[in-house]
């Protein structure tokens, strides 16, 4: 019961964290119109993943191991690109808030497809694996034999539901903190998540044989951090921390996080903060609406 619940929770959080930050951002900056492509992207990711997963589960053909890892790995790496774009788009837009409130720029419309793709990839990159897991649980629940049991499916569904609840709580919390702090911390958080996703994608590509060095481990702490425990699950879900990390994964993680984080921190810190600007940025979202 707990084991299947934790898998559902992990897969749900992996999909939900970035999206809840994005939604909080759009709501906070009064760009609610742009929530539509985000919901559309999430819906498309869910539908495509479930459909593809069902085709592989119930159809005559399976997907080879290499192909599945290749899909998961390359989608993860593409997702990192779009999520990174999202972080800087948010930071830049934060910088320009004062100008935007003056009605000069509305970058909103241009972001439609990008936001659609960000949501699609953030949720869909591991969607196939989640779908295959869920269909396997459904299979057990619907089989006629003695093995029939709804337990695993219920547990997995409950895990996903709890993940959704946690993502919603994150959104609620993010909406409440002041705008400037939100931009900084959500950006830092998302860059850390993205670095984990990149490292994870590299591992998938190593498993698929596209990249070498799968057996060349940087560290192995799997006897200290039990991957089936709740904390192992959370570490994996949030930071994509794998107790067995390859050298190439470690290198990719560092090569991504060091310049990206530096650039991001420089961008949110190194700017003139005239009092007027600060006053606008610190106002709660409701008042900004009134100004706009």
């Amino acid at each position: 019961m707990l084991a299947n619940f934790l898998i559902g929770l992990r897969e749900g959080l992996e999909a939900g964290l970035v999206v809840s930050i994005l939604v909080a951002y759009l709501v906070k900056t009064e760009r609610r119109a742009l929530l539509r492509p985000v919901w559309m992207g999430i819906a498309a990711a869910v539908v495509v993943s479930l459909a593809f997963g069902a085709l592989l589960t119930y159809g005559p053909r399976g997907l080879t191991f290499e192909a599945q890892e290749f899909i998961g790995g390359s989608l993860s790496i593409i997702a990192v690109g779009f999520v990174t774009w999202m972080v800087f788009w948010m930071a830049k837009a934060a910088r320009g808030i004062a100008t935007e409130l003056n009605g000069q720029i509305d970058a909103a419309a241009a972001g439609f497809w990008s936001l659609f793709v960000v949501a699609l990839l953030a949720v869909g990159r591991e969607g196939l694996e989640t779908a295959l897991f869920l269909w396997a649980a459904t299979n057990v629940a619907t089989s006629n034999g003695t093995t029939s049991s709804v337990g695993p499916l219920l547990a997995a569904a409950l895990g996903i539901a709890v993940a959704a609840l946690l993502a919603w709580l994150l959104y609620r919390g993010a909406v409440r903190i002041n705008l400037r702090r939100f931009f900084k911390w959500s950006g830092v958080f998302v860059v850390v998540i993205a670095a984990g996703v990149l490292s994870y994608g590299v591992h998938d590509l190593q498993e698929s044989g596209v990249l070498p060095g799968l057996d060349n481990l940087l560290f192995d702490v799997s006897n200290v951090v039990d991957p089936t425990s709740w904390y192992g699950t959370l570490l994996k879900a949030v930071f994509n921390f794998s107790p067995q990390t390859t050298v190439l994964q470690g290198i990719a993680w560092l090569l991504y996080i060091v310049p990206t984080m530096t650039l991001f921190l420089w961008m949110v810190r190194n700017r003139p903060q005239p009092r007027r600007d600060r006053a606008v940025a610190d106002k709660p979202a409701t008042q900004e609406k009134a100004v706009a």
Partner: protein, 131 residues
């Protein structure tokens, strides 16, 4: 940000094309000359990893792994050295059955279940014949 639109379109198209081609790949391999696809079953539990046969002809092999234990398990097909991963299926929760599809050429291999996803796993040797 307007530039992002064609970029997004290209990425989407690439992803769609890619997933399509990999399915095709597995199709043609299944129907290829390397022999009929073989189905094996694996009974995995917290302390056992029983593969229905210790050998199979070269070609497309499908391992249907059923987890009868209480821990989440993973199933691996490894090269004889036990180091190189030929194929792996993870997230096999208790009570679930999941498939691993691999294209195997003749040779000696090792199968392994990893209940709890840690350690070297419960290993057995496995031979792929012909080619």
């Amino acid at each position: 940000m307007r530039r992002a639109r064609p970029l997004a379109g290209t990425a989407l198209a690439a992803v769609l094309a890619c997933s399509a081609c990999t399915v095709d790949n597995s199709n043609s391999n299944n129907g290829g000359s390397s022999g009929a696809p073989q189905k094996l079953t694996v009974a995995a539990s917290d302390d056992a990893c029983k593969v229905s046969s210790d050998h199979a002809p070269a070609g497309t092999l499908t391992f249907e792994v059923t987890n009868k234990g209480s821990k989440v398990t993973e199933f691996y097909m490894l090269a004889e050295s036990g180091q190189h991963v030929v194929g792996e299926v993870e997230n096999i929760g208790p009570g679930l059955t999941r498939s691993l599809v691999v294209q195997a050429s003749a040779g000696r291999y090792v199968t392994a279940c990893k209940p709890g996803m840690t350690g070297k796993g419960i290993r057995h040797s496995f031979t792929v014949t012909g080619g």
